[in-house]
Amino acid sequence: MSFYLTAVLLGLGFSALAMGIFLSMRVFNIPDITTDGSFTLGGAVTAVLMTEHYPALIVLPCVFLTGAIAGAFTGIIHTKLKVHALLSGILVMTALYSVNLAIMGRSNIPLTGVNTIFPIINGLSELQSQGIVLLLFTLLLFAGLSLMLKTDFGLAFRATGNNETMMRSLGSNTESLKILGLALANGLTAISGYLICQVQGFADIGMGIGIVILGLGSVMIGEIFVNLFKIKSITIHLAGVVAGTILFRIILAFALSIGLNALYLKLVVALFVLIVVSIPQLKRSE
């Protein structure tokens, strides 16, 4: 049972990342793969600051800010230097590998004897108290983001990804909006790195490898949900993303529990996402 609880915890931890991917890929229509780097960046900054005994609530804004800066770089390269979004992301992600190593100083930092964001609550197991904090965290981010996307500013965000020409003719500097959007998306991704690093108890230079596909898979699983309900509300869409992330982790946990060699985990993830992506296509061609 604790096996699946861990999966739910990881799902909650990764939902910030999935919301970030939702923002870049769905809201802005930009395939941003800075994610791999900014996720590790979040973990790296967390581990380094926490082992220096900075309080978890001071570390959090630092993590968000560094992730946002990484995303802003991708946005600036894409919009101002007119480099393809995918390539902009690859460039920043590659550069971040060195940056992350430089921040960490070595390839792995354990979080031993530090105060994480997870309190010790009497009468609750470690997993349970982690669950409560992660749940609160996710709810806050979810509520904040879905509210933001309903404001005038959020509408401008969504319209930029939907119809950029219109948005420019309606007086918005869409380049700045894209930079801001990518900054926010990668800030959220870094927060995921912050949470996961504390859940697993260490930061590792390789923790972000292939993470973008995990986020993408979560977003798409969420969309299957949303399409079932046939409601086109941004809040429900975002809720679907969070649910999709948790479900995805449970599916992976199930795969491992029936004896899948962990070596093949990424292969299974890739195959699974492929299936999810192709479902709508297969349905259409019937």
């Binding site: 509210l147 933001m148 309903k150 404001t151 005038d152 500013f153 509408l155 401008a156 969504r158 319209a159 939907n162 119809n163 020409t165 219109m166 948005m167 420019r168 003719s169 309606l170 007086g171 918005s172 500097n173 869409t174 086109k232």
Partner: protein, 250 residues
């Protein structure tokens, strides 16, 4: 008043396919002008519209809005005065946003889009009231995604969106080119009504001879980047289909 003075524009400068559109082009657009711009393909109609909208910049010369020079202003900055209707009826609206949300953004064309939720009941009834004018029954569907509507409906809404915020100049780039004849008439009549009602200055680029006859107070014909006709409609200039048709065969 909008003044274009000594505008020069060449595309692909220095290339074998260099194309000079304008050299030393001058035009004054007066307040409440409703100018119909005609001319064959490549005459510079679209470039003129794009120069005004800020999607194309002049190599030389300057553009003034009253006393303010806006030559170097980017498109989004010019939106503080200029609203646009596009040739593609889908370009003026965002398909995944609702009618209401599209109108909200349009109502903030000249303003900051801040962190407040502006699509409340008060705004809803305002949009309903505006949309009711179209007689399309859309006032009961304002929370529907724009993408569910037809091109004609979306073009009509784009026109209404143009007047949700303060507008000095309305640019219409062949707004009915992709619509069926009946819808075209509806859209053009709506445009003319809106321009009159809101005292707008407007510029319509068109290939339709009947638009030249039916709408506007001033007609400009372009040829190879030069104004070869600039007529203010009045008793001394009776325009009919035959007269205008002959312009193109000279």
């Amino acid at each position: 008043m909008i003044t274009l003075s000594s505008i020069s524009k060449t595309f692909n400068k220095g290339n074998p396919n260099e194309q000079r559109i304008f050299s030393n082009f001058n035009l004054k657009i007066f307040k409440n002008d409703f100018i119909i711009v005609v001319g064959s393909n490549g005459s510079g109609k679209s470039t003129l519209l794009n120069l005004l909208a800020g999607t194309v910049f002049a190599d030389e010369g300057s553009i003034y809005l009253d006393k303010l020079e806006i030559t170097k202003y980017k498109e989004y900055k010019r939106s503080a005065w200029i609203a646009r209707i596009f040739q593609n009826p889908l370009t003026g609206t965002a398909p995944e946003l609702t009618i209401l949300e599209n109108f909200r953004l349009a109502s903030l064309r000249t303003k900051r889009k801040g962190l407040t939720i502006g699509t409340g009941d008060k705004f809803k009834s305002l949009v309903k009231e505006k949309v009711r004018v179209l007689n399309l029954g859309l006032e009961n569907k304002i929370t529907m995604p724009m993408g569910n509507l037809s091109g004609g409906q979306r073009q009509a809404l784009t026109l209404l969106m143009a007047i949700m915020d303060d507008t000095k100049l309305l640019l219409l780039d062949e707004p009915t080119a992709a619509l069926d004849p009946r819808t075209s008439i509806t859209i053009m009549d709506l445009a003319a009504k809106v321009i009159k009602e809101f005292d707008l200055t407007a510029l319509l680029v068109t290939h339709q001879i009947k638009d030249v006859v039916n709408y506007g107070n001033r007609v400009i014909q372009l040829k190879e980047g030069q104004i070869i006709r600039d007529i203010t409609k009045g008793p001394e200039h009776e325009l009919n289909m035959k007269v205008v048709f002959d312009w193109f065969n000279q």
